[in-house]
């Protein structure tokens, strides 16, 4: 009887404790998983927002890189975490729209996550070496039709992989998988090197990854996918070339929790992000890297990501790029 009473008291206090915790979320530090390696685009973006975001949250943010398998390892860690808002993920275009669209064997789907924000958009640019003699998208397409053109990527199922195929397809290449060879590399740095040393003809990737090569005259940009021109990139926009559909081909960084994240927690993140993205230093650093700060609340973020996923998925199915094994 005594034990029983104790049990009841314990349950009660636990319940009370739980409600108290919800009322005061966050009452302890929040784990933030970065599914890519230190020094990469996601890592830098995450660590730049972490400072103003930490101030807004009012509790420390513990940043941890959990890398591997193109962002899948870190994503799975958050997918399996409790939806209490104390484990959140920096989601990226590669891990959360290209990968789910391309890989049947991925251990997660978009439904396993609840996105609370997308805060950064990265334009995509396509580039070649000046030595290639290719000066415009038309030149590139002409070369593709002749044959022998290849493009590099940071790996199968990366944004770069899909982007190469999508751009060629939009420019009227019937079967981009046959017309051009995809040469996967390990990582974004290696992908750029492959174009520099002539292993591949072109690549399409985030403008921030290309900015230094373009500024140094090592690579020549052919096109950017945003409606507005990108600073430092002397190349036409997709809209100027009449390919508005390519506007969807952009990189982004956002924050997600597990799918059972409660509404009030998601709403809180929305508020915090609204405060954090006002920070002038954050804006300055990100703009200098060629990112466009574009804050989306939880609903907009979900709609944006699902929209991009559907476009990518349709392309993947049409071209037969889905990886089943």
């Amino acid at each position: 009887m005594k034990i029983n009473k104790f049990g009841v008291a314990f349950t009660l206090s636990a319940l009370l404790g739980a409600t108290a915790a919800w009322a005061e979320y966050p009452e302890r530090a929040v784990n933030m998983v970065i599914p890519y390696g230190a020094g990469g685009a996601t890592d830098i973006s995450a660590r730049t927002i972490a400072e103003p975001l930490g101030d807004a949250v009012g509790k420390p943010l513990i940043m941890a890189n959990v890398t591997g398998a193109g962002g899948a390892t870190g994503s799975v860690a958050v997918q399996n975490a409790k939806g209490d808002g104390y484990t959140m993920l920096f989601a990226r275009v590669g891990s959360h729209s290209v990968n789910p669209a391309m890989k049947a064997t991925l251990p997660y789907t978009l439904d396993d996550f609840r996105f609370v924000t997308v805060y950064e958009i990265n334009p995509v640019a396509c580039a070649v070496t000046p030595a290639s003699g290719i000066n415009s998208m038309d030149d590139l397409i002409a070369k593709v039709n002749e044959g022998g053109v290849s493009y590099s990527s940071s790996g199968v199922g990366s944004l770069l992989h899909l982007a190469g195929a999508m751009v060629l397809k939009e420019f009227g290449v019937e079967n981009p998988l046959e017309a051009a060879t995809h040469i996967p590399q390990k990582g974004g740095g290696a992908a750029a090197t492959a174009v520099l040393n002539g292993t591949a003809t072109f690549l399409c990737t985030n403008s921030s990854a290309l900015a230094s090569f373009v500024a140094n005259g090592q690579l020549k940009p052919l096109m950017v996918t945003t409606p507005e021109p990108v600073v430092g990139f002397d190349a036409p926009t997709a809209n100027e070339l009449g390919k508005e559909r390519l506007n969807q081909l952009v990189g982004w960084t956002g924050i997600a929790g597990p799918d059972d994240l409660p509404d009030d927690v998601a709403a809180k993140w929305g508020e915090w992000m609204a405060t954090a993205t006002q920070d002038p230093k954050f804006n300055e650093t990100m703009s200098a890297r060629g990112s466009v700060i574009q804050l989306m609340d939880p609903e907009e973020a979900n709609a944006f990501i699902i929209g991009q996923y559907n476009i990518f998925r349709a392309l993947v199915d049409e071209l037969g790029m889905r990886i089943e094994g």
Partner: protein, 496 residues
């Protein structure tokens, strides 16, 4: 701007207390970080990166470079003292460094590691300053076929580190190649040997395998037979390295530095293969070949020269091309970007003060490394005096902590223990661990570059013989294999 003006501009940028303090602090952090098993140089650099965001660009970059250089040296300390590489690059140092420590010559081995590291570091930094442009264009002539030929040649190192039995060495290498296939297929993106576990999709974590293979078997042996070591002499490492030692190993150190510079300037190889290649070349050329692997000081010198020779040279692709050469420089490039610097040929024109500031900082770093390293050796040498029954549990705790921290993933700790038992069985059956490691590092590179070559050529194998670089390495490979076969045959005959 003349060279003098550039130098002065650089000097005015780095001749501040903060810049030098950052460099010094970086080396201290690196040596300690590198010396903790599991907390590799890469981890130390990654952990330092966020602190550089608020610093001046040059100060931040010097801090990271200090951590990098300190870490590569620091890794040799546990490699020598407790047979656990603090950082993958120091795996080769174990081969001769640890037997020396067992003989009570820990101080001598550590001293040689430091001298060789600093010499190689200096050679590497000078190469960066003098030949960056030339080496960068050399590096750009390395496409997948050239890589394939180079890696194929590097695999012949296995023969040099197999110890008494070539057959056992091959067995070990095969096991390494097999385990390296776990993860995502590069070209098709399909799962290989992941058994449906998402944790395996990224492949087996390198640090976990490394620690599992070297440190855990020692701990298991200790637990198996707690008193086995008691009779053995493992006295205070009071012995010091002498100038005669240094002079005797000088040729190996310079050879190792040059190997390091070449491999470092080619993006994508890293310090560990360079250390092993330098080691096996030193062994091949040495008159006391037989003594290698049993505590030959020249082996320590060659390995340490090989890995530190990479440290300055990896900045060549970084600064001259804007391309990260390995995992560590990929992190450092992040520090450039966060400050709006764009490494590449134009940086030599636009930010010439930063470039020369870095050069000055690098040269100074070799000197700092020498002093910090000397102090560290004095401190860490006494680790050799700690009774094994106290040391080993402490090492185990550090290993678990370090391996977990690499990727914040408990699965990696499991990998470490499984590999520990594999390593223990290998130890019991006298199968050497070094060939396993070399195959584990080089196997994926060999496969990826082969398949990339085939994609480039449309499956035409003649691409593997394009250009003089491939021919050069193919010839070297054939010559080395013939030499190995001849020595095996001769051994067999003399045995009969």
């Amino acid at each position: 701007m003349s060279l003098w003006d550039s130098l002065m501009a650089g000097l005015s940028l780095v001749a501040t207390f903060e810049a030098f303090f950052a460099l010094f602090a970086g080396i201290c952090i690196g040596v300690v970080g590198g010396a903790i098993p599991g907390l590799s140089a890469t981890m130390a650099v990654a952990l330092t990166l966020p602190f550089t965001f608020s610093l001046q660009p040059i100060t931040g970059i010097l801090l990271l470079l200090g951590v990098y250089k300190g870490g590569i040296f620091g890794g040799s300390i546990p490699a020598i003292l407790i047979k656990t590489p603090g950082t993958p690059a120091s795996s080769a140092t174990i081969l001769d460094g640890h037997p020396m420590a067992e003989r009570g010559e820990a101080g001598r081995a550590l001293g040689m590691a430091l001298w060789a590291s600093c010499t190689a570091d200096l050679v590497s930094n000078l190469s960066l300053i003098l030949f960056a442009g030339w080496l960068a264009s050399f590096a750009l002539s390395f496409g997948p076929p050239e890589f394939f030929a180079l890696i194929l040649f590097s695999l012949t190192i296995i023969a040099g580190v197999s110890g008494e039995s070539l057959l056992r060495g091959f067995l070990s290498a095969l096991l390494g190649l097999l385990l390296a296939t776990v993860g995502l297929d590069l070209v098709y993106g399909t799962n290989r040997f992941t058994f449906g576990d998402p944790n395996m999709m990224g492949g087996l974590n390198f640090i976990a395998v490394l620690i599992g293979l070297f440190a855990i078997p020692e701990i298991i042996s200790m637990a198996w037979n707690p008193v086995a070591h008691l009779g053995k002499a493992r006295a205070l490492g009071q012995t010091k390295v002498t100038f005669a030692d240094y002079r005797r190993s000088f040729r190996s150190i310079i050879r190792g530095s040059v190997i390091g510079v070449f491999l470092g300037s080619i993006p994508g190889i890293g310090a560990a293969p360079s250390a092993f290649l330098s080691y096996s070349e030193a062994r091949r050329k040495s008159p006391n070949k037989e003594n290698f692997g049993k505590g030959e000081i020249e082996g320590v010198a060659a390995s340490e020269a090989g890995n530190n020779g990479v440290a300055g040279a990896t900045l060549i692709p970084l600064l001259a091309l804007g391309v990260p050469g390995d995992v560590i420089t990929a992190i450092i490039i992040g520090a450039f970007m966060i400050h709006g610097l764009q490494p590449g040929p134009m940086m030599f024109i636009l930010n010439v003060d930063i470039i020369y500031g870095l050069f000055i900082g690098l040269i100074v770093s070799s000197v700092f490394l020498f002093f910090v390293g000397s102090v560290a050796i004095k401190g860490f040498r006494f680790v050799a005096d700690i009774p094994k029954r106290i040391l080993m549990p402490a090492v185990l705790v550090l290993c678990i902590y370090g391996v977990f921290a690499v990727n914040n993933n408990i699965f990696d700790v499991g990998v470490m223990f499984v590999m520990g038992w594999v390593g223990y069985i290998m130890l019991r059956y006298r199968v050497p661990a070094a060939p396993f490691l070399i195959a584990f590092i080089l196997g994926p590179l060999l496969e990826d570059n082969f398949r990339q070559s085939m994609l480039m050529s449309g499956s035409d194998p003649t691409i593997l013989l394009r250009g003089p670089i491939t021919w050069f390495f193919w010839t070297l490979t054939v010559v080395t294999i013939v030499a190995i076969v001849r020595s095996v045959v001769r051994k067999a005959r003399s045995a009969v």
